[in-house]
């Protein structure tokens, strides 16, 4: 019998550098692309489209957080703050009553602002580590909410709305809010599916390229032992601040997309629980993998939406006010909490590792590992 080659074994440096090292990962990518391209063409139900859009937007921020937490080892609860930054960038730069910039203006602007503020926050991580850093980034969210609330002339106050304009999300002739392609007329949600997932692809490509080359090896060395990394010549200043900047830029881009999609942003939604939701996404998806962040975003976005939709047929779930039973929102937060605990205990490397383990089991068949 011909010996099978283990996909996890790297035989050369070039092999290690490949974007999609196994056939299954290529198939997975093609399947994901097929779903994202075909669903808006044939599905007219806003429920599914909305699910895909939000999952895509969350995946962008989750990839960023995974770079920072999964690869660089800096656990951060500050995601909500950077999502808010991106959202208010749209309010300030894209609202027609303010500057009225088009998509190609405000989206890079959100990334730039996110990166700059992230780089400004990064030095804290040089001084403070571990649990102390977690609480400091938690403080960032609280301070951010306070700032957003009180700089009303910039942010529009507690509940900012963005005027609907024709060209808010348009690049040249392609308007994602009113998309017409090859005779297909798309809804606003369907157009946004394309916009969100194009951004996911670009973000994932940037992240993948970062982690498989020199910066990626540097931040993983920092994660494993920052003092040791410094001894072998990794600049902590450059890579810790760099990780914060890149991660914050991705969160800000996600926030900008979210604000342009809902055309509404509220300070109260940018709280600690939003940040915890992103930690849940990368824990469930798989800490330290790029596709894990995407998987986690889709899975954790699907659960609350499904509960919302099928709450009529679930027992003990109150659908309206005055009904007895647990409310949909409390059920969701309970499920998030349970998922974090279950995954941390039983599947500490998330959905991504679940897949790797199943694959390894069949590759080594009939030998047990």
């Amino acid at each position: 019998m011909r010996p099978r080659r283990l996909s996890s074994m790297k035989t050369s440096y070039a092999h290690d550098l490949r974007l999609f090292p196994t056939a299954w990962k290529r198939i997975g990518l093609v399947l994901l692309l097929a779903v994202v391209v075909l669903v808006p063409l044939y599905v007219k139900d806003v429920f599914w489209l909305n699910l895909l859009v939000i999952a895509g937007i969350y995946a962008v921020a989750a990839i960023g957080l995974n770079l920072l937490t999964g690869y660089a080892g800096q656990v951060s609860l500050g995601t909500a703050f950077f999502i808010g930054l991106g959202g208010y960038t749209v309010v300030w730069f894209a609202d027609p009553t303010r500057w009225g910039w088009p998509l190609w203006g405000w989206l890079p602007m959100a990334a730039l602002i996110g990166a700059l503020v992230g780089a400004a926050v990064g030095p804290i991580a040089l001084r403070v580590r571990g649990q102390y850093l977690v609480i400091v980034t938690l403080g960032l969210v609280v301070v951010g909410q306070y700032l957003f609330r009180n700089t009303e002339s910039v942010t529009g106050g507690n509940n900012a709305t963005i005027e609907a304009t024709h060209n808010l999300v348009a690049i040249g002739p392609v308007n994602f809010a009113d998309l017409q392609l090859f005779g297909f007329v798309f809804k606003k949600e369907a157009g946004f599916v394309y916009l969100a997932w194009i951004v996911v692809l670009i973000t994932a490509l940037i992240a993948k390229n970062l982690v498989r080359t020199r910066p990626g090896r540097a931040i993983q060395a920092i994660r494993d032992r920052d003092v040791a990394a410094e001894v072998i010549g990794v600049s902590l200043v450059r890579y810790k601040i760099g990780a914060f900047a890149v991660s914050s830029a991705m969160a800000a881009v996600a926030g900008a997309l979210l604000a342009s999609y809902t055309r509404f942003i509220s300070v109260d939604s940018l709280d600690i629980f939003l940040s915890i939701q992103f930690l849940a996404i990368i824990i469930v998806g798989g800490v330290g993998t790029i596709y894990g962040a995407v998987l986690g975003a889709v899975a954790l976005q699907a659960i609350p939406e499904f509960i919302n939709r099928f709450s009529d047929s679930l027992p003990y779930v109150a659908t309206g006010t005055g009904e007895s039973g647990i409310s949909v929102a409390s059920l969701n937060s309970a499920i998030f909490g349970i998922l974090i605990i279950v995954f941390l205990i039983f599947f500490p490397h998330g959905l991504a590792a679940l897949w790797e383990r199943t694959k390894a089991f069949f590759q080594r068949w009939p030998y047990r590992t």
């Binding site: 804290i124 102390y132 609480i135 938690l138 609280v142 001894v231």
Partner: protein, 115 residues
């Protein structure tokens, strides 16, 4: 090992429950938002330093007094530019400033890094 871990959870839960009883006896009474107090307990803990019980007491005093002073004095008219809810932010600002000077809190022990 596992007995000690279990015991530390028992003590921590019991102490937290006592804090909960006292909060429930306060004018606001017991409601779901009481659990959010835990979020303001974190700056106090971190400010004092993680390994030090005395630090937790000192940190709690500093954070509590700073927050109530901010709520009392900084809401007067001459401080209007501070805006709404500054007392909510006060604990975190104090904590961040202290941590930048002393990264392991006021009484925390500096961990020795082995490579």
């Amino acid at each position: 090992m596992s007995r000690i871990l279990a015991l530390s959870w028992v003590i921590s839960a019991a102490v937290a429950a006592i804090a909960g009883v006292m909060l429930a006896a306060s004018p606001n009474g017991a409601n779901q938002t009481i659990s959010l107090v835990a979020l303001t307990a974190l700056p106090a803990l971190i400010l004092g330093g993680l390994e030090s019980p005395a630090g937790a007491v000192v940190g709690g005093l500093i954070i509590g007094i700073a927050q109530v002073m901010a709520a009392g004095y900084l809401t007067q008219d001459s401080y209007e530019w501070l805006g709404l809810g500054f007392d909510q932010v006060m604990p975190y600002l104090v904590m961040i400033l202290v941590l930048l000077v002393r990264p392991y809190g006021l009484f925390g022990s500096k961990t020795v890094q082995r490579v």
